[in-house]
Symmetry: C2
Subunit: 321 residues, 2 copies
């Protein structure tokens, strides 16, 4: 059995191409890194990699992580500036015995020392988004922190190896140096080839309070079906944060076990995710929760067309605002 | 019931003073922050705060975190340079809704904007340690990465509130920008006032592979005694990493449940820790593991005297080398 699952529609092209690797007996690490890198490279995904939205200070600071489910080794980068593919740096760091989680200037220095390509990651389109948000924040009192779509991709290969990768520009308008859950093991991602893997997207500050990805994997270890593990963890975290912290942000997760069974859970209106397995061609699903259960259906052609138009629409187009 | 437990002998003075706060009905957050700050301020503790050992690049980069077990809110800083008390910055960040985990330049900018005091944290003694290690690494082939004693302090107050704080200069000779487990929720620390808290010290890269602190709290939630939770998590992580990753570094933990019962576990020869509760004056224990169980006894006067001499001995003194 082989399989891949990812947060958000944006992973579709990456998963479609990378599943060829798995279909042909290739390794999950290769599939996951190449799928995440494809999302990073696409300029119209505004929350990951090239074209990602900047921090409050106007700089694109990128976070990424990679975990190898065979060895439990992981690598992570935070606040990495102007390196083309943060996921490749995280993957390289996962092979280091020490210093495998690097942030800021140190992460950039190490990436350059290893020959990773420099690239100016701030696009003209992202600058327009940034200016618009600055105006909205001042004029209309909108929260500056709305928008935080991390790509998280899990792979299972025919050899039984699993891995997971994440990549994000983080909370839009975040403070310089802010880390969310995406580079934090146990919160944004966790992977154990003997059990399964999980990855999260949403308000990192809240996802971290529950060690969300680790807890999902732990429940799968206890025999829970992936869908039950995902739903129960998201619901319980939401309830706990409402009771204890008084509020809760967006929480969405996907997971897969070593048999290739998958689950997805969310507390938002529409959370899209992508799955491909030996038995299922790459498919975009739209998920929403009713009561304490997440339901999902394949995205139809209209939704896919609207999505394609929306991500390319001029900034400030009232039809998509 | 009130209680405090901390990693390493170095927490003794801080715990002795901060327990007065708890004894008099004060809050655990105040006790934990003041106890950690006292460790940070003491120049002869070379792995925390002022006098902490520098990174490979010769700069002292400090990590710290604080978690409030009532709300599950936490704040963390990483690679903070020349701010007197990282724990106080982490505590202030735990009150922020967003951007509560800040690293590098951004963490420093925020700390300064909030009025936290600047302080040159690199001491002449730390420079001597650094020069000595550089020579050892080149001349004797020693690992540059030996030495990583994080202070982690847990507090339980008479109101039933718990909190935890960590502070460290991280792995000695670490790469610029390296984060270990100390600022990472779930790995270096976790706290839930309805259950208990745990905190870890050792090789962060390995402690993070198992979400060590979260897993200990989770086992206490399931009804396990703190000592059993600590021992089982450390032993299982050690076995798992040997089997899957092929090696394992130092792993030491302390924990306390909401009843004030405590536990400590380690895989090293002698791990010291400090406990004070309503029923027990502040005491230094020396722990070591036999088979799959950690045993500990109070440190005697000779050990305490040797410790005091060792931390103040001239760098390179053969008696303490």
């Amino acid at each position: 059995m082989w399989g891949m699952i990812a947060t958000w529609r944006m992973a579709l092209e990456g998963i479609t191409h990378a599943s060829e690797t798995l279909k042909n007996g290739g390794r999950s690490a290769k599939a996951v890194v190449s799928a995440v890198a494809e999302v990073e490279d696409f300029p119209f995904y505004k929350s990951v990699g090239y074209g990602g939205l900047p921090s409050e200070n106007g700089e694109v600071e990128l976070d990424a992580a990679f975990m190898d489910g065979d060895s439990l080794a992981f690598g992570a980068v935070g606040n990495l500036v102007d390196i083309a593919n943060p996921i490749q740096v995280a993957h390289a760091l996962s092979r280091e015995r020490f210093n495998s989680f690097l942030v800021g200037t140190g992460a950039r220095e190490w990436a350059l020392s290893q020959g990773f390509a420099e690239k100016a990651m701030l696009t003209e389109r992202a600058i327009q988004h940034y200016r618009k948000r600055c105006h909205e924040t001042i004029d209309r009192g909108l929260s500056p922190y709305d928008g935080h779509d991390t790509v998280g991709i899990i792979g299972l290969d025919n050899h039984g190896s699993m891995s997971v990768g994440t990549s994000t520009s983080g909370l839009f308008m975040k403070r310089r140096g802010r880390l969310g859950d995406s580079p934090v093991v146990g919160s944004g991602f966790y992977c154990d080839s003997e059990i399964g893997a999980a990855t999260a997207t949403g308000v990192g500050e809240d996802l971290m309070k529950g060690c969300t990805s680790y807890e999902i994997v732990r429940r799968m270890e206890g025999g829970m079906a992936p869908q039950d593990a995902a739903d129960s963890v998201v619901c319980e975290l939401e309830d706990k944060l409402m009771a204890r912290f008084g509020r809760v942000g967006d929480l969405s997760v996907v997971c897969m076990n070593r048999q290739g069974e998958f689950g997805a859970a969310t507390n938002i209106q529409t959370f899209s995710f992508v799955v491909a397995t030996r038995d299922l061609p790459a498919t975009v699903y739209l998920a929403e929760r009713r009561a304490d259960r997440t339901y999902y259906t394949p995205a139809d052609d209209q939704w896919m067309a609207d999505y394609a138009a929306r991500i390319r629409a001029p900034i400030g187009d009232p039809q998509y605002d």
